[in-house]
C-alpha cells in the first residue's frame, strides 16, 4: 500500500509503523508530528567527553563560553551508513566525526538508541596548488559509506580534488608479553632474556582508529561535487563540474573517464554537472544532473564514454514564470535514486521533483519547498543565496521526502497523503524529548501568532544537508555547525 519495495516480513512491521506515523500526523490541522527531539549538543562539547584519539584536534575550547560558529565547524555533509548504525558528518575544517548508535538495552528502554561520538579524524588538509596559486579547500564535500563486509567500517570522503578511503576499526585487545621488547616497547638486551614466552592478547580500553587506506588523487581538474558507490561494491564514481570518473576501489593510480561535457572551446561553456549517482541495483546505470535543470541517465554498457545519454529527463519551461532567474533556479542541486531504483528525486532552488525513470517528459510529482521566495529572487541573487545547493533525501520506504530551507527550517513531503510539514531545527525550539512543532511562513496579509513572515527569515541559517536512517524514522539535520537528530516516538 505504501511502498513498492518488497523487503519481506520485516517490511510489514515497518509499514505498520509508517502508517501509524502518518495517521498521527492527520489528527489536527496543524499536523502534529510525533517526532521527539534528541539534540546532540554542539559537537565541540561532544568531542570533550570521548577519549581523544586524534592528536591534531583544533583547540577551540576558548570559544566554548561564547556562542560562536567557528567556520571550520560548519557541517558540510551528513550520511548514515547502510544499516543506520553509524552516522558520519564532515565539516569545513576537513574533519570527519562518526557517531554510533547505542545498543538498545532492556534496562533503559526510554533511551532508544542515542547516537554518541564514535570516532573523529582529520580527513583532509588544506593544500596549496603552487602552479595556479590557489588554495585547495579541505572542506569535506561528500561522505559515502561502503557496505560492511567485516568488523571494520569503510567510508569514502572527498574534498574538491581528492577522494580518500578510510578504514575505521576498533581495537580492544593488545598483545602483551613479547620476548624481544619490554612493555614500553624498548628493545631488551638479549643477554637478559632467559626464558621464552608466548605473547597473549589482553583486553584494553576500546580504541577506535581511523586509517586512510586509499588516496585517489590527481584525477579532477575541477571541483568534485559528488561521489557514489556502485552496487557492485567494487567501483565508485567521482564527479566534478565537467567530468565523471570511474574508479576501482582497489586501484588508485588510474581511473576511467565516463562522462566529459567540457566543450573544446571553454568560451562555449554554458552547462555544468551538478550531481551524479549510481542506480541502487543496476551496476551499469547512473544519472547525472546539470545546471540547466536536466537529468541524464546513462548506461555504461553502451560505450566507454557515456557522453550520449540513454534518457534525458527535462521538464519544459513554464512560459508564464519566465524571468532572468529562471535558469538559475532550475539548476539542480541534488539528485537521488529512490531505494527501489524506480524513481528519481531532484532538488532545484524552489522545488523538489519526483521522476519516474520510465517517463522523461515531465516529473511525476512536484513539491514546492519555499515558493514564497519566488518574488525575492533578485535579493537572493544579490546576496548569493540563490546559488545555495540544497540536498534532498528519501525515507527508507520511499514514501516521504525531506529537504532543507532557510531559517533552519526543513520540510517533509508525504507522497501518499500529499501532506507536507515545516519543522525547525534550533536549540530554542527543541528541548530533548520535546515534540517538534510545525512551523509556518506567512506570505502576506495578516500574520497569525507563531507564523513567521517572509521578511523575517534568516537566510544565513540554511539547512543544506540532511539524512534519513535507511530503515527507521530517524533523521539527522545539519544546521550550520550543529547536528540535530530527531526520532519519531513510538508509543
Amino acid at each position: 500500500m505504501l511502498t513498492q519495495v518488497d523487503r519481506g516480513p520485516r517490511a510489514e512491521s515497518l509499514l505498520q509503523r509508517q502508517s501509524q506515523f502518518n495517521r498521527c500526523g492527520a489528527s489536527t490541522a496543524a499536523a502534529r508530528q510525533h517526532f521527539s527531539a534528541l539534540i546532540l549538543s554542539d559537537r565541540e562539547e561532544n568531542e570533550l567527553s570521548v577519549p581523544e584519539i586524534d592528536t591534531r584536534k583544533i583547540d577551540n575550547s576558548f570559544l566554548r563560553d561564547h556562542n560562536y560558529a567557528t567556520e571550520a565547524d560548519i557541517i558540510s555533509t551528513v550520511e548514515f551508513n547502510s544499516t543506520g548504525e553509524l552516522l558520519a558528518t564532515g565539516d569545513k575544517g576537513g574533519r570527519v566525526v562518526v557517531f554510533q548508535r547505542e545498543q538498545e538495552s532492556k534496562n533503559q528502554p526510554h533511551r532508544r538508541g542515542e547516537y554518541n561520538v564514535y570516532s573523529t579524524f582529520q580527513s583532509h588538509e588544506p593544500e596549496f596548488d603552487y602552479l595556479k596559486s590557489l588554495e585547495i579547500e579541505e572542506k569535506i564535500n561528500k561522505i559515502r559509506w561502503l557496505p560492511q563486509q567485516n568488523a571494520a567500517y569503510f567510508l569514502l570522503s572527498t574534498n574538491d580534488k581528492t577522494v580518500k578511503l578510510w578504514k575505521i576499526s576498533e581495537r580492544d585487545k593488545r598483545p602483551e608479553g613479547y620476548n624481544l621488547t619490554d612493555e614500553e616497547g624498548r628493545i631488551r638486551d638479549p643477554t637478559t632474556i632467559t626464558t621464552l614466552r608466548v605473547p597473549v592478547l589482553r583486553p584494553m580500553d576500546l580504541m577506535v582508529e581511523a586509517t586512510p587506506r586509499r588516496i585517489f588523487s590527481n584525477a579532477h581538474t575541477y571541483h568534485i561535487n559528488s561521489i557514489s558507490v556502485n552496487s557492485d561494491y567494487e567501483t565508485y564514481m567521482s564527479t566534478d563540474d565537467l567530468r565523471i570518473n570511474l574508479w576501482n576501489l582497489e586501484i588508485t593510480n588510474q581511473s576511467f573517464n565516463i562522462v566529459d561535457i567540457k566543450p573544446a572551446n571553454l568560451e562555449e561553456l554554458t552547462e555544468v554537472i551538478t550531481a551524479a549517482e549510481f542506480h541502487p541495483n543496476q551496476c551499469n546505470t547512473f544519472v547525472y544532473s546539470s545546471s540547466k535543470g536536466s537529468i541524464r541517465l546513462c548506461d555504461m554498457r553502451t560505450s566507454a564514454l557515456c557522453d550520449n545519454h540513454s534518457k534525458l529527463f527535462e521538464e519544459p519551461e513554464d512560459p508564464s514564470n519566465r524571468s532572468f532567474f529562471s535558469e538559475i533556479i532550475s539548476s539542480i542541486s541534488d539528485v537521488k535514486f529512490s531505494h527501489s531504483g524506480r524513481y528519481l528525486m531532484t532538488r532545484d532552488y524552489l522545488t523538489v521533483k519526483v521522476w519516474d525513470i520510465n517517463m522523461e517528459s515531465k516529473p511525476l510529482e512536484t513539491y514546492q519547498v519555499h515558493d514564497y521566495l519566488r518574488s525575492k529572487l533578485c535579493s537572493l541573487y544579490e546576496n548569493d543565496c540563490i546559488f545555495d545547493k540544497f540536498e534532498c533525501v528519501w525515507n527508507g520506504t520511499d514514501s516521504v521526502l525531506m529537504t532543507g530551507s532557510y531559517n533552519n527550517f526543513f520540510r517533509m513531503f508525504d507522497r501518499n497523503t500529499k501532506r507536507d510539514v515545516t519543522l525547525e531545527a534550533s536549540r530554542e525550539n527543541s528541548k530533548p524529548r520535546a515534540i517538534l512543532k510545525p512551523r509556518k511562513v506567512c506570505v502576506g496579509g495578516k500574520r497569525r501568532k507563531d507564523e513567521i513572515s517572509v521578511d523575517s527569515l534568516d537566510f544565513s541559517k540554511k539547512i543544506l544537508h540532511t539524512a534519513w536512517h535507511p530503515n527507521e524514522n530517524i533523521i539527522a539535520v545539519a544546521a550550520t555547525n550543529n547536528l540535530y537528530i530527531f526520532q519519531d516516538k513510538v508509543n
Binding site: 588554495e135 574538491d160 575541477y222 535558469e327 535579493s379 548569493d384
Partner: protein, 288 residues
C-alpha cells in the same frame, strides 16, 4: 531650471507622448533600469571572487548565462545596439559583442589583465541600490512593444552629433596610445572579421585594453602547448585581484567614481590612466 549642459534623459520623450503610453514608458523604463542594475550586479559578481580559492564554476557559468541572456534581450530591444554604437566604429555588429563566457576564460593570446568595466556598467554603478525585486522576477522576457518604443526614444535622446564627437575623441585617444606601442585597439576598430575569435569572446569588447602584443606570447605558447591550460583560463577572474585587498561589491564602484585617483582594483599604472580616459569619455556622454 536645469543648469546648462545637463542632459534630461527622458524629458524629451515625456513631452511628446500621451499619458497612457507615458505610464507604459515609465513601467518599461523601470524595467530597463532594473535590467541594467541586474546586468551590472552580474558583471560585478563575475569579476569579484575569492582571491585564494578557486571560484565556483557552476556559479560563474550561471551568472555568465544570465549576463548573456540580458545582453541578448537588450540587443533585441535595440538598446544594446545604441550603446555599442556609441563606443565602437561603424561596421561592427552588436552580435559580435555578445558575451560568451569570456569572463570565465580567456584564450591564451590575451594577457590576463584585469578587465575594465564597460562604460555601461560604469554608468549604472552610480545607483547603488538594487531596484525592487518583483518586476524583474516576474517580467516576461519576450519583447513588448513598449520596450522597443522606449529604446527608440533613448536613441533619439542621444544626439547624433554627440555620438560622432565621442568617436572622434576616442580615435584621438587611441592615436596617442598608439605611440606607446599599443595597437590592439585599432585591431578591434577595423578588420572585425579577421579578429572575430577575439571580439566574439569579449565582454563589451571595445574596452578590452591589452598591454602586450601577442607576438611574444606565441613563443611561450609553443613551449607550453602540451600543457592543459583549460584550468588556467579561470585566471581571468583571479589575477587582477591578487594584489588588491578583498572588497565588497560596491567598494569597487566607489573606487571607480570620477574623483578617484588610483583605483585599487587595477595593478598597472597603464590601466589606471586608461580608466581616467574612460572617465573622461563617460562624462562627455552622460553629460554629468
Amino acid at each position: 531650471m536645469f543648469s546648462k549642459g545637463t542632459k534630461r534623459k527622458f524629458s524629451d520623450g515625456d513631452e511628446e507622448i500621451s499619458d497612457e503610453s507615458l505610464v507604459g514608458a515609465r513601467v518599461a523604463s523601470s524595467y530597463s533600469l532594473q535590467r541594467q542594475s541586474l546586468l551590472d550586479m552580474s558583471l560585478i559578481k563575475l569579476q569579484l571572487c575569492h582571491m585564494l580559492v578557486e571560484p565556483n564554476l557552476c556559479r560563474s557559468v550561471l551568472i555568465a548565462n544570465t549576463v548573456r541572456q540580458i545582453q541578448e534581450e537588450m540587443t533585441h530591444d535595440g538598446s544594446w545596439h545604441m550603446v555599442t554604437e556609441a563606443f565602437c566604429g561603424p561596421g561592427q555588429s552588436p552580435s559580435e559583442r555578445l558575451v560568451a563566457t569570456e569572463v570565465l576564460c580567456r584564450s591564451r593570446e590575451q594577457d590576463a589583465e584585469p578587465k575594465l568595466f564597460s562604460v555601461i556598467s560604469y554608468e549604472g554603478c552610480r545607483e547603488e541600490e538594487v531596484v525592487a525585486d518583483e518586476t524583474l522576477c516576474s517580467v516576461s522576457v519576450s519583447d513588448t512593444v513598449s520596450n522597443v518604443c522606449l529604446a527608440g526614444r533613448i536613441g533619439q535622446c542621444w544626439e547624433k552629433s554627440e555620438l560622432s564627437g565621442v568617436e572622434r575623441d576616442e580615435e584621438a585617444l587611441e592615436d596617442s596610445r598608439l605611440g606607446s606601442g599599443e595597437d590592439e585597439e585599432i585591431d578591434t576598430e577595423d578588420g572585425a572579421s579577421t579578429e572575430s575569435p577575439k571580439t566574439t569572446g569579449q565582454v563589451f569588447g571595445t574596452f578590452e585594453i591589452k598591454n602586450s602584443s601577442p607576438a611574444p606570447d606565441s613563443a611561450l605558447e609553443e613551449l607550453f602547448s602540451d600543457v592543459d591550460t583549460s584550468y588556467y583560463d579561470l585566471d581571468t577572474m583571479l589575477t587582477g585581484m591578487q594584489s588588491a585587498p578583498k572588497m565588497g561589491p560596491y567598494d569597487i564602484l566607489d573606487s571607480l567614481a570620477p574623483s578617484h585617483s588610483s583605483p585599487s582594483i587595477v595593478s598597472t599604472p597603464k590601466c589606471r590612466s586608461d580608466l581616467n580616459e574612460l572617465d573622461h569619455i563617460m562624462e562627455i556622454i552622460v553629460g554629468s
